[in-house]
């Protein structure tokens, strides 16, 4: 089913509100993703593949569940024939939804959010981190800084600690503290593969 902006079916998407509760079970969602919006699809919409074209970008929604589900839009795909091939499978779990919702809250912070002239976070940075969060194998805890960066943190029971500080234009800064207290600082490219590798090495 293709849904154009002029069809009455677009109302399904327009009337959707952000969910107030989290779907507790693991669901598999095959989606082509753009934009930055959390929606809940009704039962009668989710089973069929839906392609929504708007402003030159296409969203494809499909779920393998009969239940109401949470769908999350992520950036980077455009409306072209090639884009149909770029459908990704994303596992959505509670931790991931929590982080994505938290990033929505961080995105709402206005200039001077810390009462010391910290700037609001750019859409690019929020989008960048949302993408990472959506595909990271192990979910971090996410915090805003007053340095125009977002900080992803991991902690292990043995006291070891990993921080990944991500800005809009810079590489990611890594701060690693081992269980014996030894500290290590270095920078990496802030792409998903590299960050996933760092996190996996941290957990061994």
């Amino acid at each position: 089913m293709i849904i154009s902006k002029t069809s009455s079916n677009i109302n399904i998407i327009e009337n959707i509100k952000k969910p107030s509760t989290v779907v507790g079970t693991m669901i598999m969602v095959s989606i082509l993703i753009t934009g930055n919006q959390t929606v809940t699809l009704k039962n009668d919409v989710v089973i069929e593949e839906n392609i929504i074209k708007e402003n030159g970008q296409a969203d494809i929604y499909k779920s393998n569940t009969n239940n109401n589900c949470i769908f999350y839009n992520l950036p980077s795909y455009t409306n072209s024939n090639d884009s149909v091939e770029k459908v990704d499978n994303i596992v959505i779990n509670e931790e991931k939804v929590y982080n994505l919702n938290k990033l929505d809250k961080i995105a709402e912070l206005q200039d001077n959010w810390n009462n010391n002239d910290a700037a609001a976070f750019s859409e690019n940075l929020i989008r960048k981190v949302k993408y990472l969060v959506s595909y990271l194998d192990i979910q971090p805890e996410i915090f805003p800084t007053a340095c125009d960066t977002l900080q992803l943190e991991y902690d292990k029971i043995d006291g070891s600690h990993l921080e990944i500080e991500i800005g809009e234009y810079i590489d990611a800064e890594i701060f690693l503290v081992k269980s014996n207290g030894d500290e290590k600082f270095y920078t990496i490219k802030s792409d998903l593969e590299t960050i996933n590798k760092v996190v996996k090495e941290f957990y061994g």
Binding site: K105, N114, N115, N116, E141, F143, T145, Q151
Partner: protein, 124 residues
């Protein structure tokens, strides 16, 4: 008051409460080092021999959220520098800097202070 700090003097900082999307609070209840990252200088209120309850009540008139404290000696232990910077808003206003000529605390300093921070007031 001047730029002289006693090692045991407390420095108080307002932090977003857990109720505000856990902006700075981890799931285990500890404070993220991100709460100590500010490129414009980490603002704190110096205790200046006041009781913590007195400082908390004074800060609640101006700030919302939680209030944590660190001691000057905690800053010294990580080579951070405390500077007395009274303002129109508060004669107790001070800042914690990474060094005498670097404002932003480095990651090690931020983590150290976050782990040393004492919860003085947690917004219900």
């Amino acid at each position: 008051m001047d730029n002289t700090f006693n090692e045991d003097e407390k420095l108080y900082r307002a932090v977003y409460p857990p109720s505000k999307s856990n902006m700075y609070w981890k799931t285990d209840g500890s404070l993220s080092s991100a709460a100590f990252a500010d490129k414009k200088g980490l603002s704190v209120e110096r205790g200046n021999n006041r009781q913590s309850s007195e400082v908390v009540e004074a800060m609640k008139e101006t700030f919302t959220g939680c209030i944590v404290s660190v001691k000057v000696k905690d800053c010294n232990e990580t080579n951070a520098v405390v500077k007395y910077c009274p303002s129109k808003r508060s004669k107790y206003h001070s800042e914690i800097h990474s060094s005498s000529d670097v404002i932003l605390l480095n990651k090690s300093q931020r983590l150290y202070l976050a782990r040393k921070a004492v919860k003085e007031y947690m917004e219900p």
